[in-house]
């Protein structure tokens, strides 16, 4: 048990996996001596640089993620830093190919690749775009979005050990937002949601920063006598359908949060799952809360208006209670 920030926990997980397995290496732009933007790779160069396992690359996202794919195909476990999530557009083909390989090869080929990306509104002004939902339509790809340092540590280690291409999302508003206990004995596996707070009146589904806001909203709701359960998805693809359904069946109400714009958002899959499989247990229509369908705004004031806030989560929850 150590107290760490989200950033420290993520880097610690990578360093621990690099110590445990010589096939793990990191690659990306400015991750060597510079340590990566927001210290995303701080300390790795000092410890592993001499072994050639911290590789600075040219500004060639499609190709360095492609290099990750090829190295993963032939025995390595690359952890590639995409820097910011808006660059996902530049590596879509690589995800599409990598995600298909295990299936196409009849199970022969494994692609143990982690692609990290920072995203989200936060202290680092700019690069806020949340485009992970694009990958929902790609078979074979996993998407992970931790909401706290402890999960960041466990999920990064699990992502590195996973034999599939994984997009690992690092929210910039969570990155340096205080330390929390990190337990290095947490079991390592992707695909499990957590019940971040238990409740009986409604279920709020969220990930990353939205989970943090949902937890804050749940406290306010509790003061008004409303017991909200917060389901932290943690793995967005594939979804932990069992945990999602169990919660809605228990509470009978579902509020689905999204940091990405509503149209085409990954959160719509949560809503669709509930509609198809838990409809009979619901006491009210499923409610979605997402930013408007516009490009992410820049000015702080607009950015604040854009995202589902604690207040809006509270009022959506109260609406749902009727």
């Amino acid at each position: 048990m150590t107290r760490m920030t989200f950033q420290q926990a993520t880097v610690a997980a990578i360093a621990d996996e690099m110590r445990a397995d010589r096939d793990v290496f990191v690659m990306g732009e400015d991750i060597g001596r510079f340590g990566g933007p927001l210290r995303s790779n701080a300390g790795l160069f000092e410890e592993f640089g001499a072994e050639g396992r911290v590789i600075d690359t040219p500004i060639s996202e499609g190709t360095f993620v492609g290099v990750g794919v090829g190295a993963a195909m032939y025995g390595k476990r690359p952890v590639v830093d995409l820097m910011f999530l808006e660059f996902l557009a530049l590596v879509m083909q690589q995800f599409l190919d990598a995600g298909a390989m295990h299936y196409y090869s009849g199970g022969t080929q494994r692609v143990p690749l982690v692609v990290r990306a920072k995203f989200g509104v936060g202290p680092f002004h700019g690069h806020a775009y949340d485009h992970h939902s694009w990958l929902m339509n790609m078979p074979g790809v996993k998407i992970v979005a931790p909401s706290n340092p402890d999960d960041a540590y466990a999920l990064m280690r699990a992502a590195i050990r996973d034999d599939n291409p994984v997009l690992f999302l690092e929210h910039m508003a969570l990155y340096h937002a205080g330390k929390a206990e990190v337990d290095d004995d947490t079991p390592l596996s992707l695909g499990k949601a957590s019940i971040a707070r238990e409740g009986t009146d409604l279920s709020i589904y969220a990930s990353a920063l939205m989970t943090k806001r949902a937890l804050a909203a749940a406290k306010v709701l509790a003061e008004d006598g409303i017991s909200a359960e917060v389901v932290d998805l943690r793995t967005i693809s594939p979804l932990d359908e069992a945990t999602i359904l169990t919660s809605a069946r228990k509470t009978g109400r579902a509020l689905v949060l999204s940091e990405a714009i509503g149209r085409g958002s990954s959160s719509n899959d949560v809503a669709a799952l509930l509609a198809e499989q838990a409809f009979g247990d619901l006491k009210a229509p499923i409610r979605r809360l997402a930013p408007p369908n516009i490009p992410t705004p820049f000015a702080r004031e607009l950015e604040r208006e854009y995202l589902p806030s604690e207040d809006r989560i509270v009022s959506a929850a109260k609406d749902l209670m009727g």
Binding site: G66, V69, G70, K76, M101
Partner: protein, 319 residues
């Protein structure tokens, strides 16, 4: 057979094998991307690789690349026909995706360019492991205009990867002539990325082979990537049933007359490396082999719905 004529004979074999595939698969499937005219280039590129080498082949020639790496002919044929007996339950098309366990990187999602980056990754894996294996990234003249191609060359040079880039320059991309697709010279791009490059006559199998030997030896020594441009001509249509109303018949016939197999045959006989009878025997054996494999594959079962198996999409943790 003496040691000294082993390589020429193998090259001849690969060339005729490529031609025979064309004839058999092309007759069956109008979408087969034929190789007529480019047999010397194909044989020269893929001959003599070692087990751990990885190839991202150009799609035109991917079956020959897989065969050169030891893939089974009949199983590949089944994959071209969409049979369940193909490699990997027939889930991908063998005409452009070879078995990765033999070091073949497929064109899984069909986009030209990105596999060159995957080949660079395989080269990086070999380098990190301290193996003397290399990777080949092969592309057409049309594909040379993809940013991925430029990025992969730059990346391989910056990281000093054990890699050889080979351009199958057949002077056309579907209907786009070389001059409309490529500015300047592809070979000259090697120099701009700081790597040795050479243009060779792609219809001269020995010239291709010699250039490849030099480049692969350099890569294995750890001296970094090279670029080879094999200049040839796509005598075949873009695909077999291509009406080809976009180009000049006479030009095709001029190149057909420079046919690489006849040229190599004449050389082997003139130099006394092989007799005409030896070569005829190779031709006949290949015809028999390819025809039989194709016939067997045709009779194989097509996949059933159960083989969709959505649960296979993710790799499970190893026990």
């Amino acid at each position: 057979m003496t040691k000294s004529n082993q390589t020429p004979q193998e090259l001849y074999y690969l060339m005729v094998q490529t031609r025979t595939l064309d004839r058999v698969i092309g007759a069956h499937d109008g979408h087969w991307h034929g190789l007529e005219g480019e047999e010397a280039t194909i044989a020269g590129i893929y001959h003599g690789l070692q087990k751990g080498d990885v190839i991202a082949p150009h799609y035109r020639g991917a079956v020959s690349a897989a065969l050169a790496k030891g893939a089974d002919l009949k199983t590949l044929m089944a994959g071209c026909l969409g049979r369940s007996t193909a490699y990997h339950k027939g889930r991908h098309r063998s005409d452009i995706c070879g078995p990765p366990e033999l070091g073949l990187i497929g064109l899984y999602a069909g986009s030209l360019g990105p596999p060159l980056g995957y080949a660079a990754g395989a080269a990086l894996a070999a380098k990190l492991d301290g193996r003397d294996d290399i990777a080949l990234g092969v592309f057409g003249d049309g594909t040379s205009s993809r940013g991925d191609c430029h990025e992969a060359m730059n990346m391989a040079a910056v990281l000093r990867l054990p890699m050889v880039f080979v351009c199958q320059n057949n002077q056309i991309a579907i209907s786009t002539e070389l001059s409309a697709g490529v500015a300047g010279s592809i070979t000259a791009r090697g120099a701009s990325f700081g790597m040795p490059s050479a243009e060779v006559d792609g219809n001269d199998v020995i010239a291709v082979k010699n250039a490849m030997d030099e480049a692969t030896a350099r890569a294995r020594r750890g001296d970094g990537p090279s670029l080879i441009e094999c200049k040839s001509y796509r005598v075949a249509g873009h695909f077999y049933s291509d009406a080809e109303d976009y180009r000049d018949r006479e030009e095709i016939e001029r190149w057909r007359a420079k046919e690489p197999i006849a040229r190599f045959r004449a050389y082997l006989i003139a130099e006394g490396i092989q007799t005409e009878e030896d070569l005829d025997r190779i031709d006949a054996a290949l015809t028999e082999e390819v025809d039989t494999a194709f016939k067997m594959a045709l009779e194989d079962p097509v996949p059933e719905a159960a083989l969709l198996a959505p649960d296979d999409v993710y790799a499970e943790a190893r026990p």
